[in-house]
């Protein structure tokens, strides 16, 4: 079930990237994809009836879900936010340069420059 949610979200993100002319929307769609993939990966490690993978006074003995996908997702989240920051800065520059973040208007502005 959760697989389908994740992949529908990825599909929406992909649709957004291809269909939207606004570059900012493309970035938003990209972030949706990242979130969806993270959900999918965590779901791959889920085990029915298991606990969160932390030894504590509540769970002194091991009956845990798979911790490795969670560790991978931690890395993936940080990587995606790094990419996002660079992308946001690039967008600011594009807006500075062409006065717009719309792909077609940028193309028009480029032709004027050339």
């Amino acid at each position: 079930m959760i697989y389908y949610i994740a992949f529908v979200l990825i599909g929406i993100g992909l649709y957004g990237i291809v269909s939207q002319k606004n570059l900012f929307k493309q970035l938003v769609s990209l972030t949706i994809i990242d979130t969806a993939v993270n959900i999918f990966i965590v779901a791959l490690g889920y085990l029915h009836g298991a606990e969160a993978p932390v030894y504590s006074s509540v769970t002194p003995l091991a009956n845990f879900v798979d911790p490795l996908p969670q560790a991978l997702v931690l890395t993936a989240i940080v990587i995606s936010v790094g990419t996002l920051a660079v992308a946001a800065m690039l967008l600011v520059h594009i807006h500075e340069e062409y006065g717009s973040v719309d792909a077609e208007e940028i193309r028009a502005a480029k032709e004027v420059i050339e």
Binding site: I10, L14, I17, L23, Q26, L27, L30, I33, D34, V37, F40, I41, L44, L68, P69, L72, T75, A76, I79, S80, G82, T83, V86, A87, L90, L91, H93, I94, E97, Y98, I106, K110
Partner: protein, 461 residues
């Protein structure tokens, strides 16, 4: 010991962030240190289990006869780049990070680790691509690159689900082939985007033609070579090859389309960018040709890749400095440029000649006649536009702008590097055995999964 190849550039990168002026001088020193370490002190075969965790659990770094030549070449390119290129101070820190990431990507024996290094390279590449106010192209690259990164991640994680580990050798041993195919498709698409095979590499022409002396060289000569290594490692060595036919056809179309597009370009930068795409596609076509697993084809393909990388280094560096100003004032650059173009076309007595002849011979032997035909047609087109550009640049008339003349020299460091690389091409042209010796070795080991697996199994030092 081999961890130093990653740790040292990284440590210096972190340390110089507050004083970026230093990084300009540290970068050549660090890459030189890496080269000395590689040539003098560490030799294949070495396995390092990081943190002392056994191979299936932790991350292993492997140095064997396959990645050793690649490591030397990539560090050499970065060393040359640090001398020849012109960049702002802060980019020096970024290039140190790139050095560490490329070394890590070449050494790693772990799928997720390779994803992390690919992403470091990608983030660095986005920033590099935005040099010279090329922001829109960089953003396009970012979108393409991030989507491919997501696909790579899904592929890697599904390999973990199938095999229960992330170690490349163990996955190749455990995971069942029909499942691996599905994950392989995703990883393959991700790598094809980075290797700029055409429908997936539409970002490349704009990024490569930004006229900087860093971007096309770092991306085209260092990163592409490293990713070709990763491709060979994953699909020849570790996993079963994913049905190669679609990739083969895609690459063939990409070669022809890129060459035709290169012919029609009005600026040299874009023409070179398309030529670079065509080169990468040719190597890809050769590696994925129907006769998969033939060592001779792989060996010739690696020679082709080397020739491509060195020639493109020269051409892009000179284009970055001189733009369209011609060689009247700087005949050293002109000679290097012409030698590189000749080698790229494949005239006799250059490295390109042997690359193409070896490739053709190996393909004929294996009974593949489509790629040779495409290759010959591509060579004719390539010869056409490269000779045209050479003639244009040699006989261009810019006497009228006296003020500009002073500026159209290459800096001394760049001249030396470019000339040395051009000489290398000629020397390989006279003595191809120098290189074919190594490429044969790579090719004979890359299809040998058993040796690789045994190396990992035996573990650390």
């Amino acid at each position: 010991m081999i961890a130093l190849l990653v740790a040292v550039p990284l440590a210096f990168g972190f340390a110089t962030v507050a004083l970026p002026k230093l990084s300009r001088y540290i970068l050549p020193l660090v890459t030189l240190f890496n080269l000395v370490l590689l040539i003098g002190f560490i030799h294949p075969v070495q396995v390092l289990e990081i943190g002392k965790w056994p191979a299936a659990y932790g991350i292993v770094l492997v140095l064997d006869s396959v990645n050793y030549p690649f490591l030397i070449f990539v560090n050499l390119v970065l060393f040359a780049l640090s001398i020849s290129a012109m960049f702002e101070d802060k980019l020096g820190v970024l290039l140190l990070v790139l050095t560490a990431a490329l070394n890590g990507l070449l050494l790693t024996g772990d799928f997720f680790n390779s994803f992390v290094f690919l992403e470091i390279i990608a983030v660095v590449a986005y920033v590099l691509a935005s040099q010279n106010k090329n922001y829109y192209a960089a953003f396009k690259y970012l979108i393409f690159g991030s989507v491919s990164g997501v696909l790579y991640l899904i592929g890697v994680v599904s390999l973990y689900v199938y095999a229960g580990t992330l170690n490349m050798a163990y996955i190749g041993f455990i995971a069942s082939p029909e499942y691996v195919q599905v994950a392989g498709i995703m990883i393959l698409i991700a790598l094809l985007v980075e290797l700029k095979i055409l429908p997936l590499g539409l970002w490349a022409p704009d990024v490569y033609s930004n006229g900087s002396t860093v971007t096309p060289v770092a991306l085209g000569s260092a990163v592409t070579v490293a990713i070709f290594y990763l491709f060979s490692r994953i699909f020849f060595n570790v996993l079963e090859p994913v049905k190669p036919l679609p990739v083969y056809i895609l690459s063939l179309i990409s070669v022809l389309f890129a060459q035709l597009a290169a012919m029609r370009q009005k600026t040299l930068g874009r023409a070179l960018a398309y030529a670079s795409i065509a080169g990468a596609s040719t190597v890809m076509a050769a590696l994925s040709s129907g006769a998969l697993g033939v060592e001779k084809i792989a060996s010739a393909a690696y020679l082709y890749l080397l020739n491509e990388a060195i020639s493109m280094f020269i051409l892009f560096t000179i284009y970055g400095y001189l733009n369209h100003k011609g060689f009247k004032n700087d005949s050293v650059a002109g000679i290097a440029f012409s030698l590189a173009s000749i080698s790229l076309i494949g005239f006799p007595l250059t490295a390109g000649f042997w690359a193409k002849i070896n490739l053709l011979a190996a393909l004929f032997e294996a009974g593949d006649y489509i790629l040779p035909a495409v290759l010959l047609a591509a060579t004719v087109i390539e010869a056409g536009y490269l000779i045209k550009w050479n003639v244009d640049l040699w006989y261009i008339d810019n006497d009228s702008q006296d003020e500009e003349r002073e500026k159209t020299y290459l800096p001394f460091g760049a001249q030396v590097v470019v000339l040395l690389f051009a000489l290398t091409l000629v020397i390989i042209g006279f003595m191809p055995d120098l290189i074919t010796m190594h490429t044969d070795k790579i090719a004979s080991h890359i299809f040998d999964f058993k040796t690789y697996f045994d190396t990992i199994l035996k573990g650390g030092m």
